[in-house]
Amino acid sequence: MTALVLLEFDAAGIKQPSRSAVAAAEKLGEVHALVAGSGIEAAAQAAAKLPGVAKVLTADVPPLDHLLAEPAAALLVGLAPNYDHLLAATTAVGKNIMPRVAALLDVQPISDIAEVVDTDTFVRPIYAGNGMATVKSSDPKKVITVRAASFDPVATEGGSAAVEPVNVPDLPEMSRFISAELSKSERPELTAARVVISGGRGMQSGENFNLLEPIADKLGAAVGASRAAVDAGFVPNDYQVGQTGKIVAPELYIAVGISGAIQHLAGMKDSKVIVAINKDEEAPIFQVADYGLVADLFKALPELKEELERS
């Protein structure tokens, strides 16, 4: 069996969620990786170094820049005859493209798998992770998105795959990229960070998120948020952790002024260690927290900063 993984990359290399998708694909058979866009040589080289990748396919044409769903799906459908499994990470890009691929192949996609049982059976969360469903696909090909937090990513070095350009089919032109407004941050990406510190409605304003900054600096943490904090405009949308935001599973997750709604827990309850700081001792977040501090965050955060600086 051979699996094809659609990779996402930036100037720093292959993104961590995609490396987790490669790890999932390794459980299915031989792994090939696909790099698409224009000016992708460096990315293709980075892909070739991923351990476990046997071959890298490149599609080096401008219409594939930004991986818009319509052309990217057409490319994958063209390659599909050679593969039993087509995978991508459960990211905005993967979620946008893979179901489109599946429909064109007349198969039911298997979204956000957390475990590979065998080549046609997978475990995936349903109802905000309140159930883990084992599903078996009867389709001849499986189109899959991979919950990155559930698979340890493959390393960035160690492999030496061959790189092979593919014949790019006619690509549909019914959508056009206009612009991107990306949050700039020196911090690690939320889904890749070893430590995440998130603020909720209790933070009261975007300005108060500055209280999290020195702590994040000290811990090398990414900053996240609850939906309420995003909806209130405290922080941009890409900070949202949860069922319908980002799924994270860091070594340490610190929830500050977050009540712990099921939709939020769905995005962080697989973290190794959870800390909650909340002034309401009844807040549901304490039911999942390894360490709970009942305190006013406006007092606790400056103290935490000092305590970390001291040590």
Binding site: A92, R100, A102, P125, M132, M174, R176, T244, G292, V294
Partner: protein, 249 residues
Amino acid sequence: MKILVPVKRVVDYNVKVRVKADGTGIETAGVKMSMNPFDEIGVEEAVRLKEKGAATEIVAVSMGVPQCAETIRTALAMGADRGILVETDAELQPLAVAKLLKAIAEKEQPKLIILGKQAIDDDMNATGQMLAALLGWPQGTFASKITIEGDGITVTREVDGGLETVALTLPAIITTDLRLNEPRYASLPNIMKARKKPIDNLKPADLGVDPKPRLTTVKVAEPPKRKAGVKVGSVAELVEKLKTEAKVI
């Protein structure tokens, strides 16, 4: 311009669901059901487009058990004009829903179909993209802002790094994200008016679609439970424990 809005009947988002003891699924008996929250956002957006004069008719579609008619009524009370119920007791997976919606779209000829990005029960996040593929239409998923101009639509999308704006030609598919709008509550007079709005009743066979699921659920298990933690008395104690006990800092 006609807009089609698929609305799914799901377990209300406030319900803490439980896995059935026999592991065959989620306990839904006697549980409060509501319209999928992302679909409320879809209906709201369609109604706003109609109020602005950009849309002429809004058709709400729901598929599943007969009670999905209630979900359609909710959409009608929010401002949709008529409904289509595709009634079946069979389990419907996104591929089947997309095929049924395609058949309806071919009959109704809408210019825009607004779906939710994700149903909060199956968490598939697939149907809109699949429908776009089957119709050969462009897709603007995870939308936080849409602007219709002539024969095109500009969509601002919530992506992992922030926001992305794309331009699509109509007809097109949109899937809603949380920040697209804040759905209204239906007023009592509008709830009364909605009772008189028509709902067509169809079966999958009327649309020539075999809705057979492609995924079989082998079992549903409880997620691993976290063991209860401890409360710490001070920030100093917290830092101490993170260092020496949890060893994460």
